[in-house]
């Protein structure tokens, strides 16, 4: 046995499977190989130390808390049973929901013959064409518009309407009112 084989089969030796393990070959190698001997010692000592390490103990209130949790688990289970939410009823409700869903599903409803209804023919008339009126006379609001906007073709009717409903117009109008003290 060489060191590699010893390491690969070390658990056989440590766990001492009498049926399968050739213990003599392990022992012979251990006696002749200081490195593997040290390995075995380290594992033994390490496990011994790990076992001696005092792990956590259950808290003082461990049993009280456990009793409390079990009591509530029981209570919840009883409430569910009382509310009729047993698995059987849940399955029945689920089945009913599935049937209702299937009933409402289109392909099923098309299987039944739908009644034919005669409806009057649809007639449509073209909407009346509105003519756009000519330019309106310049209004007071336009007169109060900023000077830089008053150049030719800017105050056509459509632009005037747009301007009268714009935030810019209201800001200027409000500013004028505030300045003149009319508010």
């Amino acid at each position: 046995m060489n060191c590699q084989e010893f390491l690969e089969r070390y658990s056989e030796f440590r766990d001492f499977d009498e049926a399968d393990t050739d213990l003599d070959s392990f022992k012979t190698h251990l006696d002749s190989c200081p490195a593997c001997h040290r390995y075995h010692e380290v594992v033994e000592r390490g496990v011994e130390l790990a076992r001696s390490f005092t792990g956590p103990s259950p808290r003082e209130d461990f049993e009280d808390r456990l009793r409390h949790r079990i009591y509530h688990a029981d209570l919840v289970a009883q409430t569910r049973r009382r509310d009729g939410s047993s698995p059987l009823i849940a399955v029945a409700l689920a089945a009913a929901a599935v049937l209702a869903g299937v009933g409402a599903w289109g392909p099923i409803s098309t299987i039944t013959s739908a009644p034919t209804v005669d409806l009057p023919g649809i007639s449509a008339s073209a909407p009346q064409v509105r003519t756009i009126p000519g330019p309106l006379p310049v209004r007071e609001s336009a007169e109060r518009s900023p000077a830089f906007l008053n150049h030719s073709n800017l105050w056509s009717e459509s632009n005037t309407l747009l301007y009268e409903h714009s935030n810019l117009y209201h800001r200027y109008r409000d500013g004028t009112l505030i300045r003149t003290g009319l508010h």
């Binding site: 690969e8 658990s11 766990d15 490195a35 390995y39 380290v42 130390l49 792990g55 949790r69």
Partner: protein
């Protein structure tokens, strides 16, 4: 424990002390049967038998004392609720360790949801499974008093450093004394996997603690 649910004692049929002594003298499977027959005190006996052992096992698996307490509580709640489903042809201890082990594994899985942690865990597991088995004795530091003083804690930390799938088999075998067959059942793996993981876990453990052990 759970005395208020016990009707026999309330009616004075069986004195509490006698019941406890009687339960303490029974094997696990008999205590389980008592509980299933309506003896609520039997559950208290199971808790007394397993609370510390499970706590150590879960703590060594998840490395968090407070969380271990919660997980062991959850283990007992599940046992209480599902004991009627327990296959009594099997060992109760294996069953309860399986429940605790699954809860511990879920805890570790939830923690590793972070992609970086997940990557690190995968890398650590891969390295631990594929690194050649080797043994090189690192220099011991006899003058390192701090290490010697805290040797037990350091060894405990070394167990925590093992990858999860190695740690659980290592703890079950070396610290809990479970057989290979029981470990295979608890970890839901086959015997070959248990042997392989245990051998690698021992090798990793030895490498970590060698500098601390004289």
């Amino acid at each position: 424990m759970f005395a208020e649910k016990k009707t026999h004692d309330a009616f004075g049929v069986i004195p509490a002390g006698d019941t406890r002594k009687e339960l303490a003298s029974l094997g696990d499977s008999e205590v389980v049967q008592k509980f299933l027959d309506g003896e609520e005190r039997a559950f208290g006996e199971l808790v007394r038998r397993y609370d510390s052992r499970l706590l150590n096992f879960v703590y060594r698996t998840v490395g968090d004392r407070e969380r271990a307490q919660d997980l062991v509580q959850e283990t007992f709640v599940r046992v209480y609720r599902h004991l009627h489903r327990f296959d009594q042809s099997k060992k109760f201890s294996t069953w309860i360790y399986t429940i605790a082990g699954n809860l511990a594994k879920n805890e570790l899985r939830n923690r590793s949801r972070n992609p970086l942690v997940l990557f690190q865990a995968i890398k650590k597991n891969w390295d631990a499974d594929h690194r050649p088995l080797e043994w090189e004795d690192e220099a011991y530091k006899p003058d390192d008093l701090f290490r010697k003083r805290h040797l037990k804690e350091k060894v405990d930390e070394a167990v925590q450093q093992l990858p999860e799938h190695h740690r659980i088999v290592f703890v079950l075998r070396e610290l809990e004394g479970r057989t290979y067959e029981e470990i295979a059942e608890i970890t839901e793996t086959n015997l070959g996997t248990v042997k392989s993981r245990l051998n690698r876990a021992r090798n990793n453990f030895a490498r970590i603690i060698a500098p601390m052990v004289d």
